[in-house]
């Protein structure tokens, strides 16, 4: 899962990025509106956390322009708490609106919710055959038995499970698993897929030659 956090208060930006990485997200950051818009348009993020009062380009404007090309889920995180502002933000195309100061657990729960909705899922617990993925607790069970996954493995699994039935290309997976700062080895994905198959069953993840991976 890849996130973009657009926030001009650097202390807040850094803690958001740090906390989100701990939650298993690949996180990009932007400290002003222009940079934020550029990144949001260039990459398919799973969700964007967007401040409203930004230098260079206001959050409203970023959101309005982004919505012309992309449907990326956007969570507005702002100090503006008036009802009129919330209404305006949601009407421009935001998927959620959180007023500062906020609680981190709530923020992440809301992020999970908008990512889920973006993938047309409604429940926090995904069930694929005998495998059960609890996206809130980030735990996986197979036939009721807990399965231990590394953070990366979990993320690959969660992404494929959320987009169940769709073929996900390696590029897409890379894009959603690693942020802009990470140097990635080209075969690391194969290692994760191999491990997941070992833990959850050989047929759990299907490979479509030349296209990508899929959970059916």
């Amino acid at each position: 899962m890849r996130l973009l956090v657009v926030e001009d208060e650097l202390d807040l930006l850094s803690v958001l990025v740090r906390a989100a990485r701990k939650e298993g997200y690949a996180v990009d950051s932007a400290a002003d509106g222009e940079e934020g818009l550029y990144k949001a348009q260039a990459t398919d993020y799973d969700a964007i956390v967007l401040d409203m009062m930004l230098p260079r380009l206001e959050g409203w404007e970023v959101l309005a322009r982004l919505r012309q090309t992309k449907a990326t889920p956007v969570l507005i995180l702002t100090a503006r708490d008036r009802t009129a502002d919330r209404v305006r933000g949601l009407d421009i195309g935001a998927d959620d609106y959180v007023v500062k100061p906020f609680d981190l657990p709530e923020l992440f729960a809301r992020l999970r919710a908008i990512i889920r909705r973006g993938a047309h899922q409604t429940r926090a617990v995904l069930e694929v055959g005998e495998v059960r993925i609890d996206t809130a607790a980030r735990t996986v069970t197979r036939q009721g038995q807990p399965v231990t996954l590394t953070a990366r493995e979990y993320v690959v699994l969660e992404y494929l499970a959320l987009h169940r039935g769709e073929v996900t290309s390696r590029t897409t997976l890379y894009e959603h698993l690693f942020d802009e700062d990470e140097a990635t080895l080209s075969n690391i994905l194969d290692v994760h897929i191999y491990n997941l198959r070992k833990k959850l069953g050989q047929d759990f993840i299907v490979t479509r030659r030349g296209h990508g991976y899929c959970i059916e």
Binding site: E9, L12, A19, A79, D81, P101, D103, L104, P105
Partner: protein
């Protein structure tokens, strides 16, 4: 007798009295002058006739001793009324005779005037008489009854009274109009000042008389109101801005402490530090929210959406929220809810109810009671929240709605109180045009009554 203390009535009364004094003085003068003129004219008439009488007294030719006789020429008889009634009459005494010569209209018993009388006229009963004593024993007297003159003077007096009353009436009416007009700017001023006093700081006095003395007062007051308004707006804006500016730093603190808590599980000391920071940040967040809320209510930005709300329903909803907390402390809640519908903002009123109920539960003894009731009287609805807690000390009562005022200093802020709850309640109630009242006797619990116009 409050009415007679008003400037308007006092002005009217003084003005009326003055008018009455002037009119009656004038009337009395006119009456007096006119009656004197009447009398003098009568006197002149009498003197003229007396001349005729004097010319009609002739010596009898060749009489020894010389005698006088009285012959009134026919052309002069018209001067005297011969038929009786109100006309002039004469009585002539010659040589001290007991049988005077008299006109037919003369009253029967006219006494002969004293020769020594200094004045040559007299008023005898209803008659006015003038006389001449040409020689000892002779006397010529002319008189006429004054009834007609008096009647005329009376008519004049009545005329004066009627005219005076009419003038007085018109004068009073005109005066009332003038006073009303003169006091209009004062009424405008007091109306505007009243509105300002009740919190509508945007009110200004329409200055209709800007050139007059009141115009200056109006200008002074208007500029005072403007400064007051600016000061309040500034204060509200400052509070809002300050609270707003705090949102981001508090976000940083909250996020950092929560992020720290998520990773510092193993070190108890660090955990404690992060937990303390998180509690402080949470408290700051509540403060910020409350301050912003108050600032908004102060600025009157959000004119409450006026929809029919039922206080009973709102109170019932509020009770659902508070019951778990009450149950924790073993507090019994008794509700007596009667439909009480008033126009208002349901969310805000719900906040009023929740704040009051939470207070009633929190400031209560373990196992105490909370009584909630709603009612509607004519034109108002009321919500009463009463508890059996330790109550509020008399010296604290007037201040408990002040911002950041804590009646119970010992309780401090640990329990998550911002010290703004009751201030918010008051602001909301006032924005609805209602009133909030607290009553308590130490040790006997406290009663909060919210009254709203229905």
């Amino acid at each position: 007798m409050k009415r007679f203390q008003s400037i308007r009535w006092r002005l009217q009364i003084w003005y009326g009295l003055l008018l009455v004094a002037v009119l009656s003085g004038f009337g009395a003068a006119v009456y007096r002058v006119e009656s004197e003129r009447q009398f003098r004219r009568g006197d002149e008439e009498l003197q003229r006739r007396l001349q005729v009488l004097a010319a009609s007294r002739h010596p009898v030719p060749n009489a020894r001793p010389p005698r006088q006789h009285f012959v009134l020429l026919p052309e002069n008889t018209a001067l005297f009324d011969q038929k009786g009634g109100a006309g002039f009459y004469y009585v002539v005494w010659l040589h001290g005779s007991d049988a005077p010569i008299r006109s037919t209209s003369a009253p029967p018993d006219v006494p002969m005037p004293e020769e020594s009388a200094s004045a040559r006229t007299r008023v005898r009963g209803a008659f006015h008489e003038a006389f001449l004593i040409p020689a000892h024993g002779d006397c010529l007297l002319v008189g006429h009854p004054m009834a007609r003159d008096r009647a005329e003077v009376h008519r004049l007096a009545w005329g004066l009274v009627v005219a005076g009353s009419a003038v007085l009436l018109f004068g009073l009416m005109g005066g009332a109009w003038l006073v009303h007009r003169a006091l209009q700017p004062i009424r405008d001023i007091s109306l505007a000042a009243q509105k300002v006093a009740t919190g509508d700081l945007t009110q200004r006095i329409a200055s209709s008389a800007s050139g007059s003395e009141l115009g200056q007062l109006v200008n002074v007051l208007n500029s005072t109101f403007a400064r007051l308004d600016a000061a309040f707006t500034q204060q509200a804006r400052f509070t809002a801005d300050a609270a707003h500016e705090l949102r981001t730093p508090v976000s940083v603190m909250l996020a950092q402490s929560q992020d720290g808590l998520a990773s510092a599980c193993e070190n108890a000391e660090h955990r404690e530090a992060f937990e303390a920071s998180q509690r402080a940040a949470h408290r700051m967040r509540r403060l910020i929210d409350s301050l912003l809320e108050l600032a908004r209510l102060d600025a009157g930005q959000e004119s409450p959406a006026r929809q029919p709300c039922d206080l009973a329903t709102i109170a019932a909803d509020g009770l659902k929220l508070v019951r778990p907390m009450a149950a924790q402390h073993g507090i019994q809640i008794h509700a007596e809810l009667v439909a009480a519908i008033c126009p208002g903002d349901g969310d805000r009123l719900a906040q009023v109810v929740t704040n009051l109920l939470t207070n009633a539960v929190e400031y209560n003894h373990e196992g105490g009671e909370v009584h909630v009731s709603t009612r509607h009287d004519n034109g108002t609805v009321a919500l009463v929240v009463r508890n059996t807690g330790p109550g509020i000390a008399t010296e604290d009562l007037p201040r408990i709605f002040d911002r950041f005022y804590r009646a119970d200093k010992a309780r401090g802020s640990g329990a998550g109180h911002t010290g703004l709850g009751l201030a918010i309640v008051k602001a909301i109630v006032q924005s609805h045009g209602g009133s909030l009242h607290a009553a308590s006797e130490a040790g006997q619990g406290a009663t909060f009554t919210v009254t709203l116009p229905s």
